[in-house]
Subunit: 306 residues, 2 copies
């Protein structure tokens, strides 16, 4: 039986995290990362993106990784695309969830995708129609929903203008992204309440960044408003390359520990997740990862080990 309090983690580390890492991570190592995440009980993973390797060189192995990622009936993989060429590769890769991102901020969208917000939405329309025919699940993000590094504060009305179009295209899930982490709880509440007027709360997701330390207070606000799907990145890996000063994504460990501490099931084995992040930090990336829960628990393990 499902618990109405239960939450679902949508893990973005392999895509949103690794695309921003300075060092290359070998495809078999990425496969091991995915396998470990699946083993820790993460039910949904944004595996990679099918962008031009010129733009996102760290994810140039998207086709190969998709082929070798371990398939598990309990886990849904998503692949991010930006255009028809990406969709064709995504289709070959045989992943169930198509992820699409558009910025509410026109300037941010131009920096990110080289065209305006409306132009991007218009280009997405035929792709989403095809994806529907191909039986794909549509995960569509509206990014910079709270603020933009170029345009400043984004109004809720402006964000809803974009979300309405995503819903009209047949989104199965809409991700409300505060890509800069500038949102405050009152703003998140206003955005989520407005979005609930357009789309069911249980199909909304929150994608938060911890730039100003507010990711968890914003997440809790979203939870109180009925949101149950939360994007997170193991160890707090990653960020947004086009948002100056933006720090990492909200860490998966921080989300899991908060909810489990309140008796709200996440389905994730925190110890196994910390094993994974420790391995990623020490054996792969060789740089400290920012998750507070990971850091505190890893320090405690060190102490307990003497």
């Amino acid at each position: 039986m499902s618990d109405a309090r239960e939450i679902t983690i949508y893990e973005v580390g392999p895509r949103d995290g690794l695309q921003n890492e300075p060092d290359d991570v070998a495809t078999p190592v990425k496969r091991e990362l995915i396998e470990r995440l699946v083993g820790a009980g993460i039910p949904r993973i944004e595996l990679t993106s099918f962008m031009s390797p010129k733009w996102i060189p760290k994810l140039a192995d998207a086709d190969e990784l998709s082929k070798i990622a371990p398939r598990d009936p309990g886990v849904a993989y998503a692949g991010l695309i930006a255009n028809q060429r990406g969709y064709d590769r995504f289709l070959d890769a045989d992943l169930p969830v198509l992820a699409l991102v558009v910025s509410v901020s026109d300037t941010h969208n131009r920096k990110n995708l080289n065209r305006g917000t409306q132009e991007t939405l218009d280009a997405f329309r035929p792709i989403t129609e095809q994806a529907k025919r191909d039986g794909k699940t549509l995960r569509m993000y509206a990014s910079t929903c709270c603020g933009c590094p170029y345009e400043g504060r984004i109004s809720t009305a402006q964000a809803m203008g974009v979300i309405e179009q995503l819903v009209a295209m047949g989104a199965d899930e809409v991700g409300i992204a505060d890509s800069l982490g500038v949102g405050t709880p009152d703003q998140i509440r206003e955005v989520v309440q407005a979005a609930k007027g357009i789309f069911p709360a249980d199909k909304l997701a929150l994608h938060l960044h911890d730039t100003y330390g507010r990711a968890l207070v914003n997440l809790m606000t979203g939870y109180d408003e009925g949101i149950r799907i939360f994007d997170a990145s193991l160890g707090g890996l990653g960020g947004c390359p086009y948002a100056p000063g933006a720090s990492g994504n909200l860490a998966t460990e921080d989300v899991v520990d908060l909810f489990e501490g309140m008796g709200i099931p996440t389905g994730v084995d925190l110890d196994a997740l910390i094993d994974t992040t420790l391995w990623l930090e020490q054996d792969v990336l060789k740089r400290p990862l920012p998750s507070r829960v990971f850091r505190a628990k890893a320090a405690k393990r060190g102490q307990d080990a003497g």
Copy 2:
């Protein structure tokens, strides 16, 4: 006119922060820090503690610092003590607010003050009587209200047992301290609601640590329950030397930016505070301070400067 939404920062950096720094900070530099905090609009500052220099060597200059700290009619300085000898020094130092800390966890209290919780409370009683006669304001903390590194989770009933005694001693303000940062919003809500049954909400303070990234979500929960006084430490300086794995205090910048972002007045000039933390980090401590807001804003200043 006072705004019922307005909050008050109780700055603990000079005491709770500097006592844990590896390097000595010269007394005139501490004086400059205090002066800068006052200039940034911080209305209440825990200046120092009057403990044995054998225990807290970094604050051995408490008497001298108290003499030279700039007096401002809008700022109330507090001094922390643990016994009668400390009270005598505090009295000589002529500070208006007497701060006293006791741990709800008996084991934590023994590690911290070398005696049990009840023994500490009994020893505080005659001191608080004298302080009342001396016209001092009593700021009394109950620490480890949510959990203890030795005893695990602390029950709300156990915390209330201690808080009741602090109230009976005539506390003017009671600080609810989650010294380990283990509290979750539901637990903070339960503790605050119980405390409001004993003591007025506007005389309660929250003292939170950000070990697991939950300080701001817990702070917001306390705010929603009517708490308006929040302890914080500039830059996120400090921690608890007797709580293994505990990371820094909640950062003052993170608190100010959250509330000001919601239009809730704090009375603090965030830019002036960031100037102060930048000076402390670069010219005094020469190590990076963890506040998320400070880090993001300092990075942005660097970018804007080219």
